[in-house]
C-alpha cells in the first residue's frame, strides 16, 4: 500500500457519457451483483447486525451515479439513482470511485481516507462503520464477483481479467483487484 495515495479521478468524458445512458442497465447489473455477493458472502451481511436494514448511499462523487444499498440478508436491495438529492438514506459514504474500490479491495484504509478528507461520511455513522468493517473482512474481489455473474463463461472471463486487470491497474492507478498480502 502506498503510504500517501493519490486518488485517481474518473475521467470527465467518461462521466459525461455515463450520464447520458439510461439507468435501467446499471440498475439491473447492480441488483444482480448485490444478490450474487449476498449469496456468496453471507458472513458479510451477518456482520452488519442491526445495521443491515438501513439504507446506505454509496456515492462515487466523480461519477453521475449513486447506489442506495439496503444490505438486508433476507432481502438485499440496491437502487441506482442519478444523485443523492431527493433520495432517502440513513447514511452516506462518498468519495472518488477509485477510493471506494480501493477500500473494497483492501488497498486503502478507511480512516486514513477520512483523515485526508478523500472520503466523506454523513448520517448514521454506526451503519457506515459496520458496512466498512464487514466489507473489509469479506476480502471481496469485484472482478471475481462480476465474472461469476456470467455463468458458463465465468472461468474464461476470470482468466482474461487476471491478465488484463493488472495492466489496467498499472495504467490507471485504480485498485481493481483484491490485495491478498504477501508472506514475509
Amino acid at each position: 500500500m502506498n503510504s500517501e495515495p493519490a486518488i485517481p479521478i474518473f475521467p470527465r468524458l467518461g462521466a459525461a457519457l455515463v450520464a447520458r445512458l439510461p439507468l435501467a442497465p446499471a440498475q439491473l447489473a447492480a441488483e444482480r451483483l448485490v444478490s450474487q455477493i449476498a449469496a456468496r458472502h453471507p458472513d458479510l451481511f451477518a456482520r452488519l447486525g442491526d445495521h443491515a436494514r438501513k439504507t446506505i448511499a454509496i456515492d462515487p462523487t466523480d461519477t453521475p451515479l449513486v447506489f442506495l444499498l439496503t444490505p438486508d440478508p433476507d432481502l438485499p436491495r440496491v437502487r441506482v439513482a442519478r444523485a443523492v438529492a431527493g433520495e432517502r438514506w440513513d447514511a452516506r459514504i462518498a468519495g472518488p470511485l477509485a477510493a471506494l474500490l480501493g477500500l473494497v479491495h483492501g488497498a486503502f484504509d478507511g480512516d486514513a481516507l477520512f483523515f485526508s478528507r478523500d472520503l466523506v461520511i454523513e448520517g448514521d455513522t454506526g451503519a457506515v462503520l459496520a458496512l466498512r468493517n464487514a466489507i473489509d473482512n469479506a476480502e471481496l474481489d469485484m472482478g471475481h464477483e462480476i465474472a461469476s455473474l456470467f455463468g458458463p463463461v465465468e472461468r474464461p472471463l476470470a482468466g482474461a481479467m487476471r491478465i488484463a486487470l493488472p495492466l489496467v491497474e498499472r495504467a490507471t492507478g485504480v485498485a481493481l483487484m483484491r490485495r491478498a498480502g504477501e508472506p514475509t
Partner: protein, 329 residues
C-alpha cells in the same frame, strides 16, 4: 544478533488477523464481538467460531493470539466477562489481556494455567503496582500506559521481573489509561465500561459548505475546514473556545510513532512492542505491521531503523513520540 522484540499487532476482523500474520506479526491481539473488549465497534471483532479458526490460522504459522477481555464488567453482568475468559482459553488463546480486579482474581483462581497480561486499561504505572498484580494474580506481562517516559519505563523494568509491553504506533489518549469518562459525559457510554470511545451511534458528521462538522451526542466538537485533516470524533481531540482561545484544548489530533525509539525501548528492558488499531482496516494492519517487523528485525541485527513513512495512516496525518520524549516537563 539478538532476539527481536515481540511485535504485538491488532486485528479487528479475521481478515485483518490473517493480514497481520502474513505481514510478520509475532503475536496478534483481538477480542470477541461484545462489550468485553475496548474496541466494541459495529462490524468489528470475532464470533467464537471465527476466533477458533483465527487462532488455528495464527498457530499454524507460528504466531500467537492474545484475547483482550479488557473492559470493566457491569455490576450483575460479570458472567459475560467470565465466559469470554473461559472461551478464550478453550479456543486456544495464548494469553488473555485483563484490566478489572475482580476478573483478574476470577481468572487466576478458575483458570490457573491461562497466561494473564495486564491491559493498559488497568493503568499500572509503577513497579510497586505491577508487583501487586504479579503476586496476587500471577500476571506475567503488563502493557504500560502511554504516559511514561523512556527513563520511567527503564526504572520500572529495573524494579520488576514482570515483562513489559509498550505502544509504538497508533492513536493516543490524553488521560491516564483506564480512567477516561469524557465520552460518557456526552453519550452515556465509555471505553472502560462499554468498550466504545465516542460510540458511532452518537456521532454525526455533516458537510456545511466546505467544512466537515462533527457532533458527539449532539455537542459540536469540531469543524474541519476544507484543506485540514479530519480527526476522530472524540472529545479529547475536539476544538473548543475557552479563555478567548480556540484550539485543541486537551490534545492535538496526532498519532504515536515510536519506531525510532525502538533501540532505547529495548535498552530500557521492554519485552514487546504493541501497535494500536483494532478498529482499522486490513490495509492499515498490513502496512504498519510490515513496517514495524522490518524495524524490529533491523534492530535485532544491529542495523539502523529506516523511517517508515506512515504519516498518511495517522490521525491528523502527523506523528509524535508522545510521552516517551516528554519535552514539556
Amino acid at each position: 544478533m539478538s532476539a527481536p522484540l515481540e511485535l504485538v499487532c491488532p486485528a479487528g476482523t479475521p481478515a485483518a488477523l490473517r493480514s497481520a500474520v502474513k505481514a510478520g506479526a509475532h503475536t496478534v491481539y483481538c477480542g470477541f464481538a461484545d462489550e468485553t473488549n475496548a474496541r466494541n465497534f459495529p462490524g468489528l471483532n470475532f464470533s467464537r467460531a471465527e476466533m477458533e479458526e483465527a487462532i488455528a490460522f495464527a498457530h499454524g504459522r507460528g504466531a500467537k493470539v492474545f484475547v483482550a477481555v479488557n473492559t470493566f464488567p457491569r455490576a450483575g453482568a460479570e458472567r459475560l466477562w467470565r465466559a469470554a475468559v473461559s472461551d478464550a482459553q478453550a479456543l486456544g488463546a495464548d494469553a488473555v489481556i485483563l484490566a478489572d480486579l475482580g476478573l483478574l482474581d476470577h481468572t487466576a483462581r478458575a483458570h490457573p494455567d491461562l497466561r494473564i497480561h495486564l491491559s493498559v486499561q488497568a493503568a499500572a504505572a509503577n513497579a510497586d503496582a505491577i508487583e501487586v498484580y504479579a503476586r496476587e494474580f500471577g500476571v506475567k506481562r503488563v502493557v504500560l500506559p502511554r504516559v511514561l517516559t523512556v527513563q520511567e519505563i527503564a526504572a520500572i523494568n529495573r524494579d520488576t521481573k514482570v515483562e513489559t509491553e509498550v505502544f509504538v504506533f497508533g492513536g493516543l489518549c490524553v488521560m491516564a489509561e483506564g480512567r477516561c469518562s469524557l465520552s460518557s459525559y456526552a453519550t452515556g457510554q465509555s471505553p472502560n465500561m462499554n468498550g466504545v470511545c465516542s460510540p458511532a451511534s452518537h456521532v454525526e458528521y455533516r458537510q456545511e459548505g466546505d467544512a466537515l462538522v462533527a457532533r458527539l451526542g449532539g455537542f459540536l466538537i469540531h469543524r474541519s475546514p476544507a484543506d485540514a485533516p479530519a480527526p476522530y470524533p472524540t472529545l479529547c481531540k475536539g476544538r473548543f473556545s475557552a479563555g478567548g482561545v480556540e484550539g485543541h484544548l486537551f490534545e492535538d489530533p496526532v498519532s504515536l510513532d515510536a519506531a525510532n525509539l525502538i533501540p532505547l525501548l529495548a535498552d530500557a528492558g521492554v519485552r514487546a512492542l504493541k501497535i494500536e488499531g483494532r478498529q482499522r482496516s486490513r490495509a492499515y494492519t498490513e502496512a504498519v505491521v510490515r513496517s514495524f517487523r522490518r524495524a524490529v528485525d533491523a534492530h535485532a541485527r544491529g542495523l539502523p531503523i529506516e523511517a517508515a513513512g506512515l504519516a498518511a495512516l495517522s490521525e491528523g496525518q502527523e506523528t509524535t513520540a508522545g510521552a516517551y520524549r516528554k519535552t514539556w516537563r
